[in-house]
Structures are given as C-alpha cells and as structure tokens.
C-alpha cells in the first residue's frame, strides 16, 4: 500500500512540477525560447557567442530597431504604420542624393523635414480624418514607393566621394568602441521608453490605445495624440535612414522594401499587442534582437535563404502562440 501512496505522491509531485514548469515557460515564453535558441546556436557555431559577432548583430539590428521604437508607439496608441518601409526608401534616397547637391548638413535637415511631413500626412489622415490606419498606411506604402521612383528616375544614387565626408559617421563611426548606429538605437529607445512610462503624454497614448471612448470622455485630445504618434514614427524612420544611407554610402530605390514586416515581427515577438493600449519599447528591443540573432545564427550555421525565412516566421507564430497561452494561462484551448 505504501508503494501505491508513494507513486500517487510522485505523480502529484510530477504534475505540480510540470504545471509549474509550463506556467513558467508560458510566462517567460519568448525569453526562454530566446535563450534556448542562443544555446543551441552556440553549440553548433563557436563564433556565435563571440563579442565581435554579438556587436555585429546588434549593429545590423539597429536599423530595424530604430524604426520599431517609433512603430511601437503608434501601435500602443491603437493604430498601425505599414508605410515605414517605403518611407525608409524615400528618406535614404533623399539624404544620399542631396548629400552631393547641398552638402551633408543641409541634406540631413531637409530629409528630416520631408520625412516628418510624410508622417504628418499619415497622422492627419488617421488622427483627424479618422480613416482606418491599416488602409491609410498601406496606401501610403505604395504611394511613397511611387514618389521614390519619380524622384530618383529609377536610378541608384551614390555618394561620390565616399572616403571624404563626415556623413560616414552615422553608419560607420564608433564612439568609445561602440558603433554609432547602436548608440542612436539605445538613445532613442531610452528616451521613448521614459516618455511612455513616466510622462502624462505617455499615459495619454496608452489611454487612447486602450479605450478611445473613455480617453475622450476624460478630456484627452485623442486626435492630437494619434497625430503625434505618427510624427514619432516618422522621426525614427528619418534616424534609420541616416544610419542606412551612411552605412551603405548610397541607396537603391527599393532599399526599405519589406522592412515594415520585419519591424512588425520584432514588435509582435516582443509581445506588444496589435490591439493597442499595451506594450513596451524594452520588449520591442528584445523582439528585434531575437529576430537578428536567429537570422544571424541560421546564416552562421550555413542554412540556405529559404530555410532562414521559414524558420524565422515559424518562430514568430510560436511567439504569438506562447504570448496568447500566457494570457489564457494554458497552452492549448479546445473551446473559444
């Protein structure tokens, strides 16, 4: 009899242990997944954990990361911005092309101004005209691509004297041994995270994204809030364009194509809800880094291109599932 009791106890203990592990896994899902991936990659590729590789991945991820910081704010405010990929093409072509015509300083100022103008158009249509943000920014995605082609005449733009311009600083420079793109990424992320967490402006954005009607009744000027999120998004795109143009020292007019999906993927991986009202810049950073490390790891292992895409997107679906499981407090559900 004692052995039956013992085995019952053992089963109970086992169940309890399993439940504990599952809830831990579901709560920390994405971070655990990240660590498992990192560990697995490091077993197969000794360079993966090396300092130079980690710095390379963070530097490569910083362009997507900078844009994702801005789009996270738009999403917290309850909207989407799919136009960031085309905007990146536009701003990069613009800053590179103007560099040779009016000099780097003028080019940067003009590029920021025009990028913010596009952000303002997005913000006006969504915030004040109350148009659906998915449709507006999807339309802008194509419209801006057209604008880029008209502007560039379909040609690549290059900075003529590549080795002799301080413009190179933003994409290729180092400060105290840290790459400038990484510093810009970190600075933007910190500022935006602080604004979102500790200022009344940040709380208003969360309120508008969470419950717009309640936000309006409590005296928040919703239109302006939404408008401003698109300006933040555009500002981040302009910073990313500065890094990209300077890193490549030239631009093709389709350079940002598909970036909007990578940005969204990073944000979703970080667990920010696409429904608005919740999310954090920190988590977006983790999401973007996970994406970067997975792609880098697969490349170091020598996997072909198609496999990289397949694995990346399967991981994103897994992440969304784990996130949902965490909210439901269970991994599977058989009823709706």
């Amino acid at each position: 009899m004692a052995s039956v009791e013992q085995s019952k106890q053992a089963i109970m203990l086992n169940k309890k242990y399993k439940a504990g592990l599952l809830s831990f896994l579901s709560a920390q899902g994405i971070l655990v997944f990240f660590l498992i991936c990192m560990f697995a990659f490091s077993l197969f590729s000794e360079q993966f954990i090396s300092q130079s590789n980690i710095m390379t991945v963070v530097r490569q991820a910083s362009i997507i990361g900078i844009i994702a910081v801005g789009v996270t704010v738009v999403i917290i405010g309850g909207n989407l911005d799919l136009s960031v990929g085309s905007m990146l093409s536009f701003s990069t072509v613009l800053v590179v092309d103007l560099h040779d015509k009016i000099g780097p300083a003028g080019a940067i100022i003009l590029m920021f101004a025009l990028t913010l103008l596009i952000g303002a158009v997005n913000g006006f249509l969504v915030g004040f005209m109350r148009l659906n943000s998915l449709i507006v920014t999807l339309a802008m995605l194509s419209a801006i691509q057209g604008l880029v082609l008209i502007y560039s005449g379909g040609k690549n733009v290059d900075i003529a004297n590549q080795s002799d311009t301080w413009f190179a600083f933003f994409g290729r420079g180092y400060v105290l041994g840290i790459a400038v793109p990484v510093i810009l990424f970190a600075l933007l992320a910190i500022v935006v995270q602080v604004v979102m967490s500790y200022t009344s402006y940040g709380r208003r954005i969360f309120a508008v994204g969470g419950n717009p009607a309640a936000a309006v009744y409590s005296g928040i000027r919703k239109n302006w809030c939404v408008f401003s999120t698109y300006l933040i998004s555009a500002f981040c795109v302009a910073c990313a364009a500065l890094v990209l143009g300077s890193r490549v020292m030239g631009s093709q007019n389709n350079v940002g194509q598909g970036y909007e999906l990578l940005v969204l993927a990073g944000i979703i991986l970080g667990g920010t809800s696409l429904l608005g009202g919740a999310g954090s810049v920190w988590k977006t950073i983790i999401g973007v880094l996970i994406l970067g490390f997975i792609q880098n790891g697969l490349l170091l292992l020598g996997y072909p291109y198609y496999t990289q895409w397949l694995v990346t997107w399967v991981i994103i679906i897994l992440a969304v599932w784990l996130d949902l499981a965490n909210k439901r407090k269970r991994l599977f559900t058989t009823h709706s």
């Binding site: 390379t56 690549n156 890193r247 490549v248 007019n253 020598g302």
Partner: protein, 312 residues
Amino acid sequence: MMYKTALATSVMMLSVGLAHAESTYRIGITQNNVGVDSYQTTYESAFEEAADKHGNVDVVVLDAGGDVARQIGQVRNLIQQRVDAIIIWPTNGQAVIPAIRQAHQAGIPVVVTNSKIAEAGLDYIAAFSGPDNVQQGASSAEMMCDALEGEGRIVQIAGQPGYTTAMERAQGFEEKLAEACPGVELVETQPADWNREKAQRVMENFLTKYDDIDGVYAGDDNMGVGALNAAKSAGRAEEIVFIGATNFAVGYEAIERGEYYGSIYQSPVDDAEAALQTALDVLAGEEVPKMNFFETPKITADNLAEFDKPVF
C-alpha cells in the same frame, strides 16, 4: 511616360505613318520592371534613343512592372494592335511562353531580350538577344583564378533566388571554377537579392564565420561594393579579392581606386541596341542566330581606360 510614348506613337502613325506605311516598322516592347533598378531604366531610354536614330521605326514601349499577368496582357494587346514585331523582357521565363506562342501563331516575330525564357518556348521565338550570363560567370571565375593564382578560399554573394540571371551566373562561375581552378575552394554561397545593404549584412556574417577569406564573387557590382564596405569596416579589405559582374559606376570607381579587382562590362545601352537591331534584322528577313549574345568583356585595372564609366 509610357502612355505618352504610346500616344505619340499613335499620333505619328496617323499623321506620318500612313504615308510611309510600306517602309515603317512598328515594334512593341514590354519590359520587366523599369524603375526598380538603374540598368533597366538606362536600357529604356537607350532603346528609345536607338529607335529615334532609325528613321523608319515606331516603338510602343510598355512596362510590366514585374507582374507576369500584366505582361501577358500587354503581349495580347500588342498582338491586337498588329505590331510588326514584339520584343519582350520576360518577367518570368516560364509563364510568358503561352503569350509568346500566341504572337507566333498570329505571325508576329518575337525577340526575347536580356533574360532567357525556358527551353519549351524557344520554338516560338525568332531570336534571343542579350548577355550570356553563363559565360559571364565563367569569365569571373577566370579572373578569380588569376587574382588568387590558383589557390584560396572564397565566398559567393548571389543575386535574387529564382531569377534566371542570378542562377546562370552562379552556375557558370561554379562550373568554371571547379574545372579550371581546383585549388580555389568556394566555401559558401548566400543570396543578397541584388541589394547592396543586404550584401553588406551577408558579408559581415561571413567575416565573423570565416577567419580566412581570400576572395568574394558577387553576382553584380552593387552587391560586390556592399561586400567591400563590410570588409573595409572590419579592416580586412586588403587581404580579400573582390570580383563582380554588371559593372556599375561605383564598381568602376572602386576598380580605379584599386580596392576592387575586376568585373564584367555589361552595358544596358549595348543590350537595348542589340535587341532593336535583332528585331530589325528579323523583319528584314535576314538570317539571325537563335541565341544572339552581345559582347561582355572582363574589366580590370589593366584595361579600365578602354571603357566608359557606366552611367548607372
């Protein structure tokens, strides 16, 4: 712009065309995707210029915008208009074959330009005009072999996966390298979609992964220069030989500065003129070889001066 051309063409047809109907040819061209890259954009303007130079040619210039369905529609449209010949830059070497067959059955000769179509379609075309990408890959392999003196470890950055040009260049390069230069080992190939920024990222990862890389072969100069950028940032450009294809202005300058070993000279102007000339030869009833390749010479610091700097 294409509407303007089409409009101008029809107006010209009405006013002048009728008077010279017996000596004037109407040629329709449908391009792959003008505006996405400098090569195609330069090709388009070169084609129009070349047509202007021939006094007796009217052209209808269309662009498929990379969309196979739209291109098939455009071919049907040109058949309806009863043009004298159709030039097509296939968006997809397989999917356009039925449309080409329709033109063939309607008695309109078809010239395929720049990018090949699948074997099954060869019976329906009058000729192909364009660069020989397999040969280009082989020439790059020869340059790589010369530069490394037959010994070393190299990586390859390929063009867009699935695109004929990318596959043919990689194939020509790999076959020739294995045959002529067994001492040079190709350790890995990754695609970068003809995109400089992507090539830069791929190369950064290669540099982390391999401590010794002696050479890089890139499917075009745009990607080659991206790889060069990455190597320069890592301080390893000196020890690596860079060889590309489709010489771009940035590649030309890099050869000039001695940072880039060589490339393949492929002019979109030659490409456009050859396509038009092939179509005119076919219309004149001349004997035209089925595969009509134009010259794409090797270009290195030694013979750089013989070539004009590319305008794209």
